[in-house]
Symmetry: C2
Subunit: 199 residues, 2 copies
């Protein structure tokens, strides 16, 4: 059946969301056809106002509706430690783990020369300025352990080298908690062996 154009258009737009295929988009669109006006308004409003009300924290570059963000303005957090993440979602994950009490810096991407993403496209300059002006003791690089994340970590190491008193660390790579060694990929096993510690 040919959907009426406004319905087909909505299905196409919804299919652009991550994890939403054609079938799910159809189901959502038909749900929205029957949905209450209040709900539609709330949904449209909350998506539409996201860009207006959420900006970047001028300190750590995270998404926030306040500047500085809740983490940067929390005096109980260690301002001498900065955890550098590629993506806001990584910050959410680390915060969710609950043990880290320092601050963050969100790069909004990794260096990817093949995709044309260079240092000017991620928030590395802002990190350097922050390290230069703030009393930062340690920068923990928590970019992913793939080629782009590693390249980014390498680049950060290079540009932060001039800061003599700065401790620069990389989060550990190895076997996840609960992970079966037999099912691990060779690179993870290699990392885990390499990073072995005295017990």
């Amino acid at each position: 059946m040919q959907y009426a154009w406004p319905i087909a258009r909505l299905i196409k737009a919804l299919s652009g969301l991550p994890g939403i295929g054609e079938k799910t988009a159809q189901r959502l669109a038909l749900f929205l056809l029957n949905a209450k006006k209040d709900y539609i308004e709330e949904l449209v409003g909350s998506i539409g106002e996201l860009g207006e009300k959420v900006g970047l924290c001028s300190m750590c570059m995270t998404f926030s509706d306040k500047d500085p963000c809740a983490v940067c303005s929390d005096a109980s957090r260690d301002e001498r430690t900065i955890c550098v993440v590629a993506d806001f979602r990584d910050m959410v994950a680390i915060e969710g783990a609950g043990s880290y009490r320092g601050r963050y810096h969100v790069l909004h991407g990794c260096l990817a020369p093949l995709k044309g993403i260079g240092p000017q496209d991620v928030k590395i300059r802002e990190l350097m300025e922050r390290v230069a002006s703030d009393a930062v003791g340690e920068v923990i690089v928590a970019t992913p352990f793939d080629s782009e994340g590693e390249a980014t970590a390498h680049y950060i190491k290079k540009v932060l080298k001039p800061f003599n008193n700065l401790k620069l660390t990389r989060i550990a790579s190895g076997i996840p908690v609960g992970g079966y060694i037999e099912y691990m990929d060779p690179s993870t096993l290699g990392r885990a062996m390499e990073g072995r510690k005295d017990i």
Copy 2:
């Protein structure tokens, strides 16, 4: 981590969609934070304009951006046969099957006295008016085979009885194609036995 209010609000709104739980809503919200402005505008526009541009076909009550809808205005379809469905999605499914060449009538619900949904809350009056004025030969009741769908079918039978020359039918209930008999529920098996045909 406490999400900024506009993000938390969006997560809540997205969680209201069918099949979208808290985790998926978070993932969609974080995707939308990073999404291109054009896409956001298209998504918001297509949801927002759905209600404005899509109305009900004055003949069959289906959702359509034209009146009459594409099916009702298709002269090649048999206008003497009306398939009554509870929901627009059922019409989409039957059209998807591709073999039905008559027209439709969408009730937008089933009778459910326990939920306070009576005949005036679904498009039964419109069906009666249509049968009374049009040259309708057959009404096929394709409401679901649950208590509400059956009650609705029963009610339609009652109100359409006065039309002497009208053929009133109910779609068949039984074992789905490819379904294993051993796994069928007792009611379906009962229906299948009851509806058996000479071969």
